[in-house]
Amino acid sequence: MKARTALLLGSLSAALVAFALTSPRVVAADKVDPVADAKAFQNFFFQKFPNVKHEDFVNGPYSMNEDMRRQWQEKEEFPPYEFALDAGRDMFATPFKNGKTYADCFPNRGIAIRQNYPYFDTKEGKVVTLELALNRCREANGEAPYSYVKDEMASLAAYMAVTSRGKLMDIKIPDDPRALEAFENGKRYFYTRRGQMNFSCASCHVQSPGERIRAEILAPALGILNAMPIYRSEWSGMGTTSRRFITCNSQTRAVPLEPQADEYRDVEYFLSYVANGLPISGPGARP
């Protein structure tokens, strides 16, 4: 046992030395080129899954497996997110105490705009997600914010998604170095290994989509956020993008960040941008 400990510490320090030797080229000023990144990202999936129609990637694991696809189609006949959707529609139409509504906070009164979220706010210098905008709308109108992960927030997001179904994801990166930085940070977050399992987002959703990890069939990263929010049978309920990130982190045995942490906002920005041109399919139903 002592020998094992030594081995462990040895391998750690050896690796650290190796790292130290390769690290002088830290921050090799790679040019950030989101257009090229998005193209490469999409091509990777289109080539890896030549039989999947491009617009079908937004249906996650169901684009990859026929037996599951049939179960999904059966579910979609009367989808499990129906109740959340109805609740969201009602909430969206119900005025705040001051008489204003959600519609007053959004472009086009909140209808058919999901494909433009998240966006980079050049005033704030940060990424703003739909959920963040919804809570800011509430707070600006004197209402308490909702939890970012489920329940009311998921219902509202579900309603806003359904009015945008079929619209093509259309995320912009404004001419602002901070926007490029947010994109780059999101990209780094996506590919960085974390947790005791030593998995990155990409370990599952780039390298192994369509395969089973334990019981679940992994969704492709391409278009994964176009289906948000989702009803997951595993949750027996709805969840937002925040909830999805948090569960992913936990599954790799990484302590999740707080919902709407900068890292989560940035990775949402990255993942949405590289899915530009693919349709909004949310709310989705997932295993």
């Binding site: 006949e77 009367f78 499990p80 129906e82 109740f83 109805d86 609740a87 009602d90 027996s236």
Partner: protein
Amino acid sequence: MASSIRVRATSNGDITEVQTLIQHPMDTGLVKDAKGELIPAHYIQELKFACNGKDVFVANWGTAISKDPYVKFSFKGAKKGDDLKISWTDNKGGSDETTAKIA
């Protein structure tokens, strides 16, 4: 409060197809909550569909029906515009009912 029952009933002239989704926890009584305490069983036992004064479908359910239960069936003898009455009762004495027009 919104009804717990969602119905789609459509007639093709001869046959009426009915799909229903009901908001209900369908707790089995075997699952523990976050505090480690058993959540008592709470599930719909009977679901009835009646059209023109006659039962057209009756479901008896146990705890193995999924949360927010779904069921689909078809029957003859109704036409567009007829009323379809749906009612359920659960093991704790809860109940709900609604009436849908066949489309």
